[in-house]
Symmetry: C2
Subunit: 458 residues, 2 copies
């Protein structure tokens, strides 16, 4: 159809969305749905099942754990029953509440994934979203190298399945950092030291040296700290350097032995050695993680930043229960990945996926055109019958829903990115057109249609 403009009283309300909230249009939404499905398949293949928790919680539940920063960002209000309520700002606090509340119904070790929207009243700067999606997987109630390795294997499998090119997992153990500071800068504050070390890439070692001095770290120790945390050729080289630096620190040696063992298990599960990088400066939420921490980056697009992260926490639900629930989890950054994929054009057919395939708006492959009225009512019935049989054979089919000019229907097929169009001839045979190859074929019957589609699609 062409939407009609009629003389009518003016519409009363301007159609618009709130700042920081987005409409996801069909092409992007389909791509996101495809990514999420692959992610769910990976989670399930590792024994992680879904759970769902409410979007809205008692505000006290959500404010219990977060810092002042996240409290300020809450969408909090009073509901009709005069309760203080708020939209969740992540999926981890609801998981903690969930596990505490249902601990007698759940089986531990408890694996779950959750995919859903979260809300944060960020200042609406540089495209920051106030509603966005999180995809989390957590293993609650297990400690040790097997549990930690499992989450890393899960992450590596997820990015492989998402077909986003090679990914590096940068892994650390918080205890290694503690050991390093115990040996090289006793009494210093880990978060302050890390903030300074983080400037090396952009501002250089000189700046870092100077700033470490202001933290009271002697020059020799600071130089050693810079040297031992510098990137090395591979994980074994980094582990060797760290082993020397933490020697004598019990916590450091424990962390290093643990990380070494975790890496062995991850590699045993078929993750290529290059994927597992050791980086003693990765911290990610210092007040939260207590053991291993990791983040994922795309090798082809490091500028996109972290496309996933995770780590181990000692006590997930301490605010809600006195049962100690240690766990390890990860979060896959689906929105960042979507941005990256728009650059990589990698979703359909991997690196070979064409721009046209990515721009497709319809999830269908084939358009059956609407027969002209003069062909009689049976023509349309025949179109419905063919659509049914093609779908039964696994072909995704649209029928054009109105009696419009054939040229207009074909323009629609083109704009929607459909690969094929089929038109019924008055004699009951079919005219097939490939919109990709710009070729056409007369097809005497349904069997010929199916054979033609099969040969063209492969």
């Amino acid at each position: 159809m062409s939407p009609r403009s009629e003389s009518r009283s003016e519409p009363r309300i301007e159609p618009r969305t709130l700042k920081g909230f987005q409409d996801v249009l069909p092409a992007k939404a389909l791509r996101r749905a495809q990514l999420i499905r692959r992610l769910e398949d990976v989670f399930r293949a590792h024994g992680y099942g879904p759970i769902d928790t409410p979007s809205l919680e008692f505000a006290e539940i959500l404010k219990g754990k977060g810092g002042e920063e996240s409290d300020k960002q809450l969408f909090e209000f009073e509901d009709a029953g005069e309760r203080r309520v708020a939209l969740r700002f992540d999926l981890t606090v609801p998981l903690a509440r969930f596990v505490a509340q249902h601990q007698n119904e759940l089986v531990f070790p408890f694996r779950r994934y959750a995919i859903g929207h979260v809300w944060r009243g960020e200042r609406p700067q540089k495209g920051r979203l106030r509603e966005f999606m999180q995809c989390d997987a957590d293993l609650v109630g297990a400690v040790g190298p097997a549990a930690d390795a499992e989450i890393l294997v899960l992450m590596a499998s997820a990015y492989r399945a998402l077909d986003v090119g090679s990914v590096t997992l940068r892994v650390n153990d918080r205890r290694i950092l503690n050991g390093l500071l115990e040996r090289l800068a006793p009494g210093s504050t880990p978060s302050a030291v890390l903030r300074v070390l983080d400037k090396r890439d952009r501002q250089g070692a000189e700046v870092v040296l100077a700033e470490l001095a202001t933290l009271g770290i002697p020059a020799a120790a600071a130089a050693r700290l810079i040297e031992v945390t510098a990137p090395r050729a591979d994980a074994p080289a980094t582990l060797t350097a760290l082993a020397e630096a933490v020697r004598g620190s019990t916590v450091g040696e424990t962390g290093l032995a643990h990380l070494t063992r975790v890496r062995e298990l991850v590699l045993a599960a078929g993750v290529p050695p290059a994927v597992f990088s050791v980086d003693p400066t990765i911290a990610r939420g210092l007040d939260y993680y207590t053991g291993i921490v990791m983040e994922a980056r795309l090798d082809a697009l490091p500028a996109v930043g972290s496309v996933g992260s995770g780590g181990r926490y000692d006590d997930l639900a301490g605010l809600y229960t006195n049962t100690v629930l240690p766990g390890v989890g990860c979060s896959v950054g689906i929105d960042r990945l979507l941005i990256a994929l728009e650059e990589l054009e990698g979703l359909e057919g991997g690196a070979g996926g064409s721009a046209a395939a990515n721009a497709a708006k319809s999830p269908a492959e084939v358009l059956l055109t609407h027969p002209a009225a003069e062909h009689g009512p049976d023509a349309l019935s025949a179109v419905f019958a063919l659509a049914h049989r093609l779908r039964a054979a696994g072909v995704r089919v649209e029928t054009f829903p109105e009696d419009k000019k054939h040229g207009q229907q074909m323009r629609y097929a083109d704009r929607q990115g459909l690969a094929f169009a089929l038109t019924r001839n008055p004699d009951g045979s079919w005219h097939g057109k490939s919109l990709i190859a710009s070729s056409a074929q007369e097809l005497p019957d349904e069997a010929a249609v199916l054979a033609w589609l099969a040969s063209r699609s492969s």
Copy 2:
């Protein structure tokens, strides 16, 4: 693990959810995710792609259309920027706003599906949820029998794919009802008449007759109305009875001819005749739908009520644009279907699905147990390697993540509903246990493991 209770200060916050908001636990969440995936596959096979709109909108957008009833149910509040905002109460108003706002980016006819949560501040009576899921598919910008038939074919295909047993689509055309009243009760109010007719099943024809009289409908006309709207053997019988009753009413005859043609097309698309029932008393949102209306019921569980509904509207987005956008759509009631499935146990393997399969909490099929520490570190590496290769072969595998007693691990497998457990023997071979068949098998190598799982699963 067994969660440990430690002496610690008491937890500060009671873990609880808001009234009308629910946690969905793993078994039910997995089932719902499986249903949603099947539904999405059907939508996509018919050319419907996903879109996503914000959960939160300007309150004026959401309040524009709804009646006072839905306005009162809104979760409405003032955000940090002093804007009046509200959580969406359905997916149709956001669709209207979306289509008006993006009409120049979209290709018409526009097909979309949307699956998401909606929020309504219902009185918390008899298990009414304040947050629940909707699954909608709409075709916007097309009129005529092909468009209407398409939505009915889509609904029938959806329920078939969901494997919920036989379903009846009760279909009407609002114009048939208007024609009936034009002929039999001119000047009466359709909604009032329908409300009375609706009491027939529960209160009998006598009560209906009496109440129609109070509406000013003469006894003979009322009796005729009751007779012509009574259930008949099949759709053709109903259509014949209606044809006689609306003869002479242009609107009634138009509606009837339209519905007759829609039915032809739906049957041409392979929908069994018994699925398409004509019911002139179906109305569903009188102030909203303008052409065909339908609702779906499970034949095996009519008491569950409508498990889906839909219809045609003349002007979707009139509040937001002066472009006239007619459409037709349907909504599949996934929450009601879940309740029904709990009764039918139909999801896994159809009617033959076992209660055990439905109670499964893990999406995995196989547990690889954690080797005892005395078997050395290579044993755990071998478990990780086997898990990787089984997953590569398409098997969903959990590894037990801690070094616990074998019996404890097996109890875990049982509680999680896992079908198989594999334990590594000290010599590197594997011990396979079927938890369904309570049988065991020694398996010398990985190939034997794969063959055993394949033979057991089929």
